[in-house]
């Protein structure tokens, strides 16, 4: 098999230029393996060759990121590199950050695999988990540089396999830091058997590995009360799936990614017009009979007349909220919020379904 040519990235310190006093050194390229790249190349035992080493000051990268990325891309193209290896950056914050940015950028620009290494505490890891690039792998390393030998061995082992086109499996088996996406797999035992095994381990006080880690969901802070409700302009938002008659906007009964607003201006009740109900998560027969359950216009008009609040915004915001992705609903809420701000809405009644 032909040697695969790679690019190697290090910071000014590992490029042999100097420490913090040289952190402003601009991006530089050398047509040879420099610093850790030399040891890395030896460890790869001929499976790949470092065609070019790039090094850059930590501060220079942070201050000129897009220029540095552009010149790295240009050089990577010029040398026809098939992979980028960066670091290891250990616990160094700026260096780790640069490694992840470069890996991400070259992976999406050239569709080449990229490997780096750093401590799991490094801020670069958080970024790596946000990017979730299928072609980028971070090897966990020690916090201190003393772990260089072990880090380079692991990176070289992984790089040698990637370069041969081997499929890289799940994170726990392969030893890289999880990027955070989850894929279906088939294992030896059925789920029921695994569940009983784990329970018996847990009961006996033996070590066991959960298959779904506990996540901490971001709390949603309670908004401060509206200071002057008497003058406030309120809007109705509903996820009950009440939509325009005939569903002209093509809502689905589950997994929606869009929203619409529909006018109920001059109506005193949702029964004053015809609506459709698109929602796969509850028995919609009741909502068909009385859409005020999902969009309580009737009651809102009554209390509007009683001057409980200023004015009801003449449209309601709608999306069927069933089995939608959290990210899709977050995007929808951002868009709705933007529209509400533009429309001068002070408060919202969000109706649960």
């Amino acid at each position: 098999m032909a040697l695969r040519r790679i690019m190697y990235y290090v910071n000014q310190f590992f490029g042999g230029i100097g420490g913090e006093d040289k952190a402003d050194v601009p991006i530089t390229f050398r047509e040879e393996a420099v610093g850790p790249a030399r040891r890395f190349q030896e460890l790869c035992q001929g499976s790949l060759e470092v065609a070019v080493t790039a090094y850059c000051g930590d501060n220079y990268f942070a201050e000129h990121e897009s220029d540095v990325l552009a010149s790295i891309l240009e050089v990577a193209r010029k040398y026809h590199v098939g992979m980028l290896v960066a670091g290891p950056a250990f616990g160094a914050g700026r260096y780790g950050f640069a490694c992840v940015e470069i890996c991400h950028f070259l992976n999406i620009s050239l569709n080449i695999p990229c490997i780096s290494g750093m401590s799991v505490e490094s801020p670069g890891v958080e970024l790596y988990k946000q990017y979730k690039d299928k072609g980028v792998f971070l090897i966990p390393t020690s916090e201190a540089v003393s772990g260089m030998g072990e880090a380079l061995s692991k990176m070289a082992r992984l790089a040698s396999r990637v370069v041969k086109g081997e499929t890289i499996g799940a994170a726990p088996g392969e030893g890289y830091i999880p990027r955070g996406f989850r894929l279906d797999a088939v294992v030896d035992k059925c789920g029921a058997e695994r569940a009983v095994d784990i329970l018996l381990d847990k009961l006996a006080g033996r070590a066991f590995a959960t298959e779904i880690p506990i996540e901490t969901l971001e709390g949603i802070p309670v908004a401060p009360p509206i200071a002057n409700l008497k003058d406030a302009r309120l809007a109705l938002v509903s996820t009950a799936g009440v939509v325009a008659c005939g569903n002209p906007d093509g809502f689905k009964t589950y997994g929606n990614t869009q929203w619409r607003k529909y006018s109920f201006d001059k109506m005193n009740s949702m029964k004053d017009a015809s609506w459709d109900v698109y929602h796969g998560g509850y028995n919609t027969v009741f909502m068909h009979e009385n859409p005020n359950y999902g969009v309580p216009l009737d009651v809102c008009r009554e209390i509007e007349k009683e001057k409980a609040f200023g004015k009801l915004y003449p449209f309601f915001y709608s999306t069927p909220g069933n089995m939608a992705l959290i990210s899709a609903m977050q995007a929808i809420s951002r868009e709705i919020l933007k529209d509400m701000k533009a429309e001068g809405i002070d408060g919202v009644l969000l109706v649960s379904t």
Binding site: A171, P178, L199, K202, I212, E215, T216, H279, M323
Partner: protein, 435 residues
């Protein structure tokens, strides 16, 4: 309660001669069974076909699946409360025709046109990528095709479909009455070594009180807004739990066959007296409409586990509803707080690419979870050589209100299109791994 489950494996099904089982061959007299089904005046036409594993056949409009079983001794009958009086089942001897199903494909005029209460259909592919996901690509499926008369209500449609499939299954199992079983497995919660860990199974089932059929019935009674019930695992093996026969679809509801061949129940029964002491099943109705209701069911289910002196609980759920999921997670939390250690087995979400969070709600006590794969993944269904199903098989509705599919072509869909496509109870070897 000791139940002998006698196994009569089926290796071939023929529509031939009189209805008979001999040497692994099930012969079916089509006319006899069609006449049996047509005794119900709500059924206007009935027919049969068969699909075998590996052939390029797609079965459409699937609404429920059952395994033919027959009670030959002990109280009650298989499918108690439906095919016979309400008598507690789970003891004596039951025959099963294994490796074969009665799979009902039915067409009727819906009166509820969308929403969760509407009737739904599912697909079964006997080959290709979808075959890896469902147990029904590995069974010989005797497809019962029904058309119901116009004007039936939703609950009548359920009753007509269920009555047809259960009576056909009973008739087929009747062929084994005088035959010798290939093997017999005995299930019993006998007194055992007191040092073994005491384990209960909290079987969460999503039902909705205000739908024509709540989704799951026990002894024929749809479970509505009830609190947890203690059930002997053997009762399920005799068909005490059945599903809404109108809603096979979307893989979201375990069908009757899955209740009869429940992988967690069978695993715990087989481990009883060996590695653990299986105490029984807490059947927990979930998807309470308020946080208050969710807390009450969680408190009651965990209290029942504590009163049984359980050391540990296996907990599962049904239904992809996020609302329902919260009831189950709160039950995990309530058990752990009462000192009952848990493992929670569930499919996960995560989006098509697996980049979203796997679950929608977490409690810090859920330290042991098993995943059976993601229910959000999409599958490309290839074009079949043959389509089997009731009515027009060129255009089929999976979920009322959503786009129609053309079953004779290739299309993209999700696991929920498949009968049994979502693994609620860990019957498959599917999982998710982090990359």
């Amino acid at each position: 309660m000791r139940l002998e489950l006698a196994n009569f494996p089926v290796k071939d099904v023929r529509f031939d001669g009189r209805t008979n089982y001999h040497g692994g061959v099930l012969e079916i007299n089509r006319e006899e069974l069609v006449a049996l089904v047509l005794e119900d005046r709500k059924v206007v036409s009935a027919n049969f076909d068969v699909a075998v594993p590996g052939e390029q056949t797609r079965i459409v409009r699937v609404r429920d699946v059952v395994e033919p079983r027959l009670k030959v001794s002990g109280t009650g009958c298989v499918f108690p409360g439906i095919l016979g009086p309400v008598e507690t089942v789970g003891q004596g001897r039951t025959h099963r025709l294994s490796g074969v199903t009665v799979m009902t494909s039915a067409e009727y005029k819906l009166t509820i046109l969308e929403g969760n209460a509407a009737g739904r259909t599912a697909l079964v592919d006997m080959w290709g990528p979808a075959a890896q996901l469902t147990p029904f690509a590995s069974t010989i499926n005797i497809v019962l095709m029904l058309k119901l008369r116009d004007g039936v209500s939703e609950l009548e449609a359920h009753a007509a479909i269920q009555s047809a499939e259960l009576r056909v299954a009973q008739r087929l199992a009747e062929t084994t009455r005088e035959r010798a079983a290939e093997d017999v497995e005995v299930f019993e919660l006998f007194e055992t070594d007191p040092s073994l860990p005491r384990v209960v199974y909290i079987l969460g089932c999503r039902t909705t009180w205000h739908e024509p059929h709540s989704g799951v019935a026990l002894y024929g009674l749809p479970i509505r807004e009830s609190l947890p019930t203690l059930v002997h695992p053997n009762e399920f093996l005799d068909g005490a739990a059945t599903s809404d026969a109108r809603r096979g679809g979307k893989g979201t509801f375990p069908c009757t066959w899955e209740w009869m061949n429940h992988p967690v129940l069978l695993r715990l029964l087989r481990e009883h007296g060996k590695r653990l002491n299986f105490l029984g099943v807490i059947l927990q109705r979930t998807r309470f409409e308020s946080d208050f209701g969710k807390q009450v069911t969680a408190a009651c289910a965990s209290q029942m586990a504590r009163l049984l002196k359980a050391d540990g609980a296996v907990i599962t759920r049904t239904g992809p509803s996020g609302n329902n999921f919260i009831d189950v997670m709160l039950t995990v939390q309530a058990c752990e707080r009462k000192g009952v250690k848990t493992v929670f087995l569930t499919p996960e979400w995560g989006g098509r690419e697996g980049t979203e969070l796997p679950l929608v709600f977490y409690v810090p006590e859920a330290s042991a979870m098993v995943t059976t794969g993601s229910l959000d993944r999409v599958i490309t269904f290839p074009a079949p050589a043959k389509v089997i199903g009731a009515g027009d098989t060129q255009i089929v509705e999976i979920t009322p209100g959503d786009p129609l599919i053309s079953p004779s072509t290739s299309f993209v869909g999700d696991k929920g299109y498949l009968q049994g496509g979502i693994d609620w109870w860990g019957g498959t070897r599917h999982t998710c791994q982090v990359y």
